[in-house]
Assembly symmetry: C2
Homo-oligomer: 229 residues x 2
């Protein structure tokens, strides 16, 4: 389901590494990665962890992920193109190979620049076209069609759309065809069940606490095998 | 023009601290701050510098800014509310007192949460409602009215709108009245002249390279006095 990734026993899951407050984030992340690195297609790290760790420790964590896996920096970049490129350059140095940006920043002087930079230097652009929270309906969902045009025009490798709204995933799949991956967060604590987004047309489900806060992450993933078969 | 800030000799300017590639960012920032701290109303730091510095060095830099000045973390946050709050909590610990977020994330479970958190813990929310690059026209500018509603509903202290489009600033001022500050980037290298945004109705101009790359930042600001008189 995910090109270029070993498919044998891997499930189409990206684990969102969001450490609980108060733990040593480095040890916590490394524990989960070591436990699951042969079972999933990648990991996603957000801004809170980036702020907690700093570059060196982040490099340690990211280096622990297999080099053929998706190592996603989920900073939801939403700035002018030059700034986004400047951030992505630093994230690439740390070891990330995929970068989440916001489609609503537009193409010209925004995703255009990110896309040009990643085409030259290597790396996947993943564009947010819908979000999982209720506020997404107020503005973003009303301009979904424009956001998809921008995602396509900029040659996004993937788009992000929430498992909590399978109808939106269906609309997106219809418009994008098979050219662009759909990655879906919102599974578990946020309300959707594992497998829901894939059934609606997504390629990969992003799962956090359901796996990372379980007493045995490896076993939890094993138990999900039947869902994704 | 900026409530609660000493007004004597200060100009309504926030300096964007974006170090050039290759310099020691900490020394560079501290030099400019020490040189200008009695002349402007605040400073703004973006994600590239945050990544370069890490928490301790950032704390050093931010601590150098007067405690009555605006110390703006310009990460252009655009995530669900819980994540934005979790990032802002960390930025507050570092010493920032104002936080730039994106209005298009919506109110419910997004700015609503940021607003609630900052009301309790102290700190200013500054909401992006328009951007300076060309791509802003593709999506954002078409929903300006919605973004302003969201900025108002969430009790934003200020909004960000570009000096490069004075007409947009005028529309915003008309809608917001005097309740909300307008902060305008886009001056200098990006095309607008110092004073342009204030003339159109903004409260504060955000200026970067025009000051920080001049051979004598202090003198450059002195020379701007006549513009803002």
């Amino acid at each position: 389901m995910v090109d270029g990734l070993p498919r044998s026993v891997r499930l189409p899951i990206i684990i969102a590494l969001d450490p609980p407050y108060g733990v040593d984030p480095i040890g916590w992340c490394q524990g989960i990665i070591d436990d699951t690195v042969d079972m999933v297609v990648g990991y996603k790290i957000g801004l809170p962890l980036v702020l907690d760790c700093g570059r060196n420790d982040l490099g340690e964590i990211v280096g622990r992920m297999g080099s053929d896996l998706l190592r996603i920096a989920d900073l939801k970049l939403a700035d002018i193109g030059d700034i986004m490129v400047s951030v992505i350059r630093r994230l690439k140095d740390i070891g990330f190979n995929a970068f989440i940006v916001h489609g609503f920043t537009g193409y010209r002087d925004a995703l255009e620049k990110v896309s040009g930079y990643l085409r030259n230097s290597g790396g996947k652009m993943i564009t947010v076209v819908s979000m999982s929270h209720r506020g997404s309906i107020e503005v973003i969902d009303g301009v979904l069609d424009k956001l998809l045009d921008i995602a396509l025009k900029s040659g996004s490798w993937g788009v992000v759309a929430p498992a909590t709204r399978p109808k939106v995933i269906k609309i997106i799949r219809r418009k994008l065809g098979g050219k662009v991956k759909i990655l879906s967060p919102g599974i578990g604590v946020q309300g959707a069940y594992p497998g829901d987004a894939i059934k609606a047309g997504a390629d990969i489900e992003i799962i956090g606490r359901l796996i990372t806060r379980s007493s045995d992450p490896r076993r939890t993933i094993m138990e999900l095998h039947s869902v994704y078969r």
